[in-house]
């Protein structure tokens, strides 16, 4: 009789799940997943995803690193919290998805370029000013892929910008930093270093 390794169990590749547990914020929470799919049924964008959250968790367990980190699903979370509220095992699905998105981004995966650009510019602006200045954020987001795209994007959205100004819903004052910006940056630097998500880079 042929001798089978691992008492007949197939050789599961656990290196990616270990990587997720260690480096992804809330990554360990997926250990609780029982594959019921309530998260997928509750998600407003699950139909647009290549793999619903439930399947993403299964793929992590199966060691599918490339597929998970380059999946558009992890960038399509609208942060509506329906999954977190309904998960019968209490998994904060949204937080895991955010953690995966950040980790993928840090590892050089960009499954949704526009969303990645927007998120990056958003965060950069908080780091730079301490607050969000919507007009400046849109400008930076539109021009994130270069000048030509920027002009094109700007023209496409120009009517909306003008409407917002006319209706007093765009702050026209030049952007201003909060008073404590230096100390805020010091704190954020330390948090980036002490927290998860940026390892292995």
């Amino acid at each position: 009789m042929e001798k089978r390794e691992n008492n007949g169990r197939s050789n599961y590749n656990t290196s990616f799940s270990q990587e997720v547990f260690q480096n992804v914020d809330y990554g360990e929470e997926i250990k609780m997943c029982m594959q019921c799919g309530v998260c997928a049924a509750s998600c407003p964008l699950s139909l647009q995803m290549d793999y619903p959250p439930r399947q993403i968790f299964a793929m992590i367990r199966a060691g599918k690193r490339q597929e998970v980190l380059s999946s558009k699903s992890i960038m399509l979370c609208t942060s509506c919290y329906a999954c977190k509220v309904r998960c019968p095992r209490g998994i904060p699905v949204i937080d895991v998805m955010h953690g995966l998105a950040h980790y993928a981004f840090k590892q050089g995966f960009v499954p949704r370029k526009k969303t990645a650009n927007f998120g990056r510019e958003f965060w950069n602006q908080i780091y730079r000013l301490g607050r969000i200045d919507e007009k400046d954020l849109s400008r930076r987001y539109f021009f994130a892929d270069g000048f030509v795209d920027g002009i094109k994007n700007g023209l496409e959205m120009a009517d909306m910008g003008i409407t917002m100004v006319v209706h007093k819903r765009m702050k026209l004052l030049p952007e201003r930093k909060i008073k404590g910006i230096q100390s805020l940056r010091k704190m954020l630097d330390k948090a980036a270093e002490m927290g998860k998500g940026g390892a292995r880079r």
């Binding site: 399509l76 953690g99 998105a101």
Partner: protein, 292 residues
């Protein structure tokens, strides 16, 4: 009744009609407030791309620490994103001693600390539980006379904690609308997400979400939609012409903040105090017809 008011970035820009109307409404109801000095952005729903979770926690802990250093009032956050980010961190710091230590170690870099003594509340929580429907009814000298309003709750103002209202079947916004004399319209999509923070980069997908919400509100008789979230307001109102173009629909339904309806029902100035001139799809005609 005094609170720290954390109004956040949106209410100074695209959500200006929310803040402009909120201030006189608070004044009418006798609610005092103080701005958290030198507050920073909460991180909203998209920063996670560039920041790890601890950074987002620190961002909110700084605001909580700044409030705590001034006293012990509750923080009221009218923006649902500010609310959820802040209350989440507040909960986690209180439940997880190790996290609290870590966060305080980082806050110390800026000479701050947070003990965890501050309570974070949503505007609707304060309106319903502290101010009370009776007071709101009393102040509604120009009741909305059965105006059919679809009270859109969206996601982050009640989920995930359900601190003051049900996470699946919230009623508080409807009760406030009724206290103003309006008729709160029931519509199944009132808890469905509008696309929130990824609306702009994921417009194609988000358009469908918003189309379904608008259609649902209209189908159930809503003459206007009220909201308590600057992202909901932006996504449902400002993109309506583009959604019409994309789907061949002809939505023309005003989206107003609950506080704008309150200001109107309280008999305050429709332009200066209810900020109706800030709305792109004008609600004046419908409101004036109701108020008389």
């Amino acid at each position: 009744m005094k609170y720290y008011l954390y109004w956040g970035c949106s209410l100074e820009g695209s959500g200006a009609n929310y803040l402009v109307s909120l201030k006189p409404v608070f004044k009418t109801l006798g609610v005092e407030f103080e701005e958290i000095e030198d507050w920073n952005c909460c991180g909203a729903s998209i920063s996670y791309v560039g920041a790890n979770d601890l950074s987002l926690k620190v961002l909110n802990a700084r605001n909580l620490a700044l409030a705590e250093s001034k006293g012990s009032h509750d923080i009221v956050a009218p923006c649902s994103s500010c609310y959820i980010q802040m209350i989440k961190v507040n909960h986690e710091i209180k439940e997880d001693e190790e996290l609290a230590k870590k966060v305080n170690q980082i806050l110390a870099e800026g000479g701050l600390s947070y003990k965890g003594s501050i309570r974070v509340r949503h505007l609707m929580d304060v309106l319903y539980y502290d101010v009370g429907l009776e007071k709101i009814r009393q102040k509604a000298v120009k009741p909305l006379n059965g105006l059919k309003v679809a009270g859109y709750v969206g996601c982050q103002s009640v989920r995930p904690y359900g601190e003051y209202d049900s996470v699946e079947r919230p009623v508080i916004q409807d009760r406030i609308l009724e206290a103003l004399g309006a008729q709160a319209v029931a519509f199944p999509k009132k808890m469905r997400c509008c696309g929130s923070g990824i609306f702009l980069p994921e417009m194609e997908y988000s358009f469908r979400l918003v189309r379904d919400i608008l259609q649902d509100a209209v189908d159930h008789g809503g003459e206007l939609i009220s909201t308590v979230c600057p992202m909901c307001a932006m996504n449902l109102e400002v993109y309506q012409p583009r959604i019409n173009r994309a789907f061949g629909t002809n939505f023309d339904i005003p989206i107003v903040y609950l506080t704008q309806l309150m200001a109107a029902a309280f008999g305050l100035d429709l332009k200066r105090e209810a900020a109706l001139d800030h709305n792109i799809i004008p609600p004046e005609t419908i409101l004036k017809a109701a108020v008389g």
